[in-house]
Each structure stands twice: as C-alpha cells, then as structure tokens.
Chain length 302, copies 2
C-alpha cells in the first residue's frame, strides 16, 4: 500500500523541486485555444472546455511535477457538469503518475465527515484523491474519519493551520496563553502526525497548510511538528517569494524538504498563454512550469 507522506517526498526528491500545480480554472481566463461557447458557468459546453484545458496542462506537467491540487470550488461553480469534469481531471492526473491533492477544506461532524472521506479517500470513491485539505475548527473527533483513511488506505491529509490570506490573523493569531491559535492547532495535531509518519522518509501522511506569506509563523510551526509536510500556498500570484515559501523546510538528503509549494495562476495563466496557437500555448506553459521548477529548485538547494 502507498503511504502518502513517503510517496510524496520520494517523488519530490526524485524531481528535485517541491512544486504543486494548483488547478483553479477561472472561467474568464481560459485561453482562446480551449474556450467553447460563452464560458458562462451554466453553459453545458463550459465544463468540457475546462476539462480539456486542465488535461492539457497536466500533459505538460507530467514528469516534472510530483503533485497537482484541484480546487473543488471552481468545479462546483459549474454545477454537476463541473464535478464530472473534476472527476475526469483527477483520473487523468493519477493515470499520468501525479499525486492528486484535492483542495476542498472540508470539516464536518462524524457521519458527515464519513461521507466526505467516502467521496474522496477510499478505494471506491467517485472523486478519488491521494490527499484532501481539511478545516480543524470543529475539533479532533471530526477529523477521525479522515485519519482512518490515512491509516487504512495510505491517503494524505492537510489540515489548515495558518492560511495565506490577509485576514488569516483574525482568529488564527489569537493568543491562547503564550501561543497563537494556529500554533495550538499544530500542537494538538502533532500526536497524529507522529502516528502517521512514514517508514521510508519519516514524513507523515498528516500535513498542514502554512501560507508562504507568513514565514516566521512557518518556522514556529515547524518547531512544533517536525514530521508534518507543509502545503504552502501564497507563492507567486499571492506575493510570497520562493525563499519565503520554503522557510518551514528542513535539510534532507537532496536539499531542503518537508513541504510542497503551490502555484496556481502563475502556471495556468502565464504571459503568452492567452492565445489560439497550440504551439505558443505549450511554450508558455512549459516556460511557466520551468520557471517555478527552477526558482523552487534553487530555493531548496543547499
């Protein structure tokens, strides 16, 4: 059985970069090469066009990228046809050897959490993913069905700890004694992180989300949870640098490791990709992936 933490870190080591390609299909930015109809969310032609676009991006990413992160909201925006497209996109990525981290930030009580785990993190799931993002606000018991999928089927989990948005401090920075709420959440999760650590790399299948825009907090959270893989949003379009993005990383056999760094808009909609020419589009996407791979590769090189 695959162990998510081991599988992810081994792929990142082999590729030499921690890039995670975020699949956030903004409908008004899909390039002319793939557009069909008016691209309104309710048009039945829209979801298949988005699916073709993202599969083409995945084809450019194969062999260069360890993991891709579809954001389910952008598919939900298109209704059931969007969800059908998401299922196809996830299957395409997995078929081409990339891990799929579904960004859904789910969090709900027992039986409902079971249903979410069943939707994504078990063998017969209709929208199978290798890992899922989760929200901790409801408490540890609500995460238990997902821990079960991690133990039983080797799936991965990323729990929100410190997010990348400007307002993340409203609650995450509140002080509980001398620690922030984010640090308290990290501390509470850490026993499970240890329990789900991999035998090959030591990295756990239970990771956390820690935004690139708060490097100081990333370092404090790393102290609290040495084996948790960090999913780092906020690199690129959101303003975090490659160096800031890897601030929670630690030395490993091939350089700094222990996290993946997401880039969505920077990869999906780079300069030069707003074109009708397949050749020009491929060149633009290849250049965007190449740039991120190089920047992040340099940031983790020791």
């Amino acid at each position: 059985m695959q162990h998510f933490g081991d599988a992810l870190i081994e792929r990142v080591r082999a590729l030499g970069n921690p890039l995670c390609v975020g699949l956030d299909p903004y409908l008004d930015r899909i390039p002319p090469l793939f557009r069909d109809g008016d691209m309104s969310p309710g048009n039945p032609l829209t979801a298949p066009a988005v699916e073709a676009f993202l599969k083409a991006v995945l084809d450019r990413s194969t062999g260069k990228v360890a993991v891709v992160k579809p954001q389910i909201a952008f598919f939900e925006r298109m209704g059931w046809r969007g969800i059908r497209a998401l299922e196809e996109v996830c299957a395409h990525a997995r078929k081409h050897g990339m891990l799929v981290l579904l960004d859904a930030k789910r969090g709900d009580i027992g039986s409902t959490a079971d249903a979410y785990a069943g939707a994504h993190l078990i063998p017969d799931a209709p929208m199978p993913a290798d890992a899922l993002t989760l929200n901790p606000y409801l408490g540890m018991d609500t995460l238990e069905p997902f821990f079960r999928s991690a133990r039983t089927y080797g799936r991965g989990l990323f729990v929100l700890v410190k997010t990348s948005n400007p307002g993340s401090g409203d609650f995450q920075d509140l002080k509980i004694g001398n620690r922030s709420l984010a640090e308290t959440v990290a501390d509470t999760l850490n026993a499970k992180v240890e329990e789900l650590a991999g035998e090959k790399t030591g990295w756990s299948s239970l990771g956390v989300v820690v935004g690139a825009t708060y490097p100081g907090e990333a370092e404090r959270i790393r102290q609290i949870m040495p084996r948790a893989v960090f999913l780092v949003p906020g690199y690129g379009a959101q303003g975090g640098s490659a160096k800031e993005a890897v601030s929670g990383f630690v030395p490993g056999p091939n350089g700094l490791e222990g996290g993946i760094v997401n880039s969505s808009r920077g990869i999906l909609f780079p300069a030069g990709s707003d074109t009708n020419s397949a050749t020009d589009w491929e060149r633009a996407i290849d250049a965007a992936i190449g740039k991120a791979v190089t920047e992040l590769g340099e940031a983790v090189a020791t």
Copy 2:
C-alpha cells in the same frame, strides 16, 4: 428582493414551529419503497433513487416546514450524479415554497470563496440555495464574498460558532482572555450581523450555528449577538432536547423565536418508515414531522 432573515422568521412565525428538516441521505437507510439496485454510491441508479426519496419527503413537509437543509457531503459521496440529484432536490424544495439552507460549511480565501458564492448564492447559481453554512477559521476577509451575496441578493449565511459534536471544545472552547474562541468569533461577527438585520423582523441574514448540546454556551452567544438567527443542530438523534434546542431563543410576537432547529435522521428515517408500502411510509413520515412540529412548537410557546 427577499431578505433571508425576515423571510425565514416570518415563515417560522406563520407555521408556529422552528423545525428545519435536514436532508442527510444515508444510503444504507433509504427505505425499500425507494431503493433501486444495490444503492452503492457508484451505482448510477443510486442518485436518482435518493432524489425520488427526498422529493417525497419534501412533499410531506410542504406547508408544515419553513426550511430544509440538504447536507452536500451525502450527495458528493455519489459523485457528479449525486450533485445533479442535489440540484433537483433544491429546486423541488424552493418550488414548493420552502427555504433551502445548503449545509456545506465552506470556507476559503477570496477568489475561491467567490466561486463558492457563485455556485450557490447568486441568481444564476447552478445549485441555488437561500442560505449556506460557513466556517470562520480562515478569517473575516474570506467571508466577504458571502456577505456580498447577502447584501446584493438577500441570501442568508450561518457561520459555525459552537458545533454540536463531542469534540467541539477542542478549539471552540479555548480561552482568549476571559472568553471562549466561539464567543470571540461571535463577537467579531456581530457588526456584520447588525449590518444585515432585516427591516421587518429585526433578525439578520447572518446567522450562526450553535449546537443544541451546549445550551449554556447558546445563552452566552445570544447575549453577544441579539439579532443573529441560530441554526441549532443536535436535536433528536444527537441527544439534545427540544427545550435545550431553544435555549438561545428570545420572546417574539408568537412565542420564543430567533432560531431554527434541525432534525435529520428523526424525520428521514423514523420508526415504521423502513417499508415497501407507500401508505405506511407516508404515515410514518407524517408522524415524525408531526412529532417534531409539536415538540418544538411546545418548546417555543410562551
């Protein structure tokens, strides 16, 4: 334009009870009358069977119930066919004059939150709902796209404050100074609650989730936010009594008001409903709705 807070409370006043029927279709509990095939989540026959079952429940609820609350996780469990069934169920409920509160507990950063609001809370949304549940962990800026739907389209929002599950205290009860995190979230939300208060009833389109299993906390949260409608889970199957469920309610023209009390399993799968007889099934559902309507009606009577 409809104002959610006003529309909800006016319907509850007219009907004399604050029951919210939760639509949580556990696949293994769908009665023989509606089952088709093996009812496995991946079977294409399953979602249409669930849809027929829930539409039949909605037909029994018409004229007795102000609001219904589909839990999206149980539909997501069936993949895109489940989401298609959810869209049909939401449309059916709204056509029959019931408000639809979609229980999705969404929470994500700006552009992603926009996509969720677009999926559910704008006029051309593919899965239109009158209101949506939200998670506050990411911060106030992440709720802004939903506040916009409330202001512009009169939609309703219910933000998680104190949930009904046993582990809700792990983070929600942590002390920030002399207040719990839940109370701090309530306090932070309250300016928006006031801003979104209705002109007819004074009740706001921004409500909160406060579990029936913690009546003391409900009373403290009511002190903090006098105009917020409480969505109260935990009544019935989860162990909260009708009296506990209305502990955050306040006197209104027709009795205690200011909240809705959810019952899911108690209404969908009552004793006597596990049958192949349409007559027996209808009798069992009518009795279950009648019992909840009576219990909650008595609890709010002054």
